[in-house]
C-alpha cells in the first residue's frame, strides 16, 4: 500500500512569510508525529496526534509553529513569520499505535528560508 506522503517536497520562503506543510499518513494509522531535522542532526520531535487530538506539542520551538489534524487523517504543520533558523527538513511519521511500534516516515519537506 501507499506510504506516508508529504507535500511540497521542497519549499523556499522569504523571511517573514507563512508556510504550510502537508502530511498524508498511511491509511488507518491512528498516531501521527512531526519531527524537524536540521543539517547534520537527527530528527527532533515537534508534536504528536492520536486521531484528531494533539496529545503532545512540547517540541514546537515557538508559538509561530502550529499543527492540526482536524479529521484524524491528513495533518498540516504551519509556520508563521518564518525565520532563517526554521530552515530544516520537516518529517512526518505515522503508526497504527504510538507505543512500541515502528514509525513510518514520509520523505520530508525541505524548507529553506532566505
Amino acid at each position: 500500500g501507499a506510504g506516508v506522503s508529504q507535500s511540497p517536497r521542497y519549499k523556499v520562503a522569504k523571511r517573514g512569510q507563512d508556510v504550510a506543510l502537508r502530511c498524508d499518513p498511511i491509511s488507518g494509522h491512528v498516531s501521527l508525529f512531526w519531527y524537524q531535522q536540521a543539517l547534520g542532526q537527527g530528527p527532533e520531535f515537534l508534536t504528536y496526534f492520536q486521531n484528531e487530538a494533539q496529545l503532545d506539542k512540547s517540541g514546537l520551538p515557538s508559538d509561530r509553529f502550529f499543527a492540526e489534524r482536524p479529521e484524524g487523517s491528513v495533518s498540516t504543520l504551519k509556520i508563521q513569520r518564518t525565520q532563517q533558523e526554521d530552515s530544516a527538513v520537516y518529517l512526518c511519521a505515522s503508526t497504527y499505535s504510538g507505543t512500541y511500534n515502528e514509525q513510518f516516515f514520509g520523505p520530508g519537506t525541505r524548507l529553506t528560508v532566505l
Binding site: 498516531s31 537527527g42 520531535f45 517540541g59 518529517l91 515502528e102
Partner: protein, 111 residues
C-alpha cells in the same frame, strides 16, 4: 543535553566484513530501542528494534544488541553490502511515544 549519542559520525567498511554501529543513551527509563536507515532525500526507514526485556534481536544480516547496565546499543551488519551505505540513526522511545534520535553514523561499504 543529548540523551542519545552516536559518537562515530562515519564508518567505512569493506564489502563482506562486519559493520558495527554504536549508540549510548543516558536515561534508564527508556524501554524500546530502534535503528533507522536513511538514504539522501528520503525519510528514515525502520530497520530493527529491541525492547528492554531482551538483550539481542536478530533479523537476517542485522542484529541489535542491548546492554542495559552500560546503557549501550549496537547494530551489527554482517556481511556488509554496498547497498547498506547510508546514514544510520539509533532512536529510543519512552512511554510518551515520541522517538529521540541520535545524530547518526554515515556508513560507507566499499568493494
Amino acid at each position: 543535553d543529548q540523551q542519545v549519542k552516536q559518537n562515530s559520525p562515519s564508518l567505512s567498511v569493506q564489502e563482506g566484513r562486519i559493520s558495527i554501529l554504536n549508540c549510548d543513551y543516558t536515561n534508564s527509563m527508556f524501554d524500546y530501542f530502534l535503528w533507522y536507515k536513511k538514504y539522501p532525500a528520503e525519510g528514515p526507514t525502520f530497520l530493527i528494534s529491541i525492547s528492554s526485556i531482551k538483550d539481542k534481536n536478530e533479523d537476517g544480516r542485522f542484529t541489535v544488541f542491548l546492554n542495559k547496565s552500560a546503557k549501550h546499543l549496537s547494530l551489527h551488519i554482517v556481511p556488509s553490502q554496498p547497498g547498506d551505505s547510508a546514514v544510520y540513526f539509533c532512536a529510543v522511545q519512552d512511554n510518551t511515544d515520541k522517538l529521540i534520535f541520535g545524530t547518526g553514523t554515515r556508513l560507507q561499504v566499499f568493494p
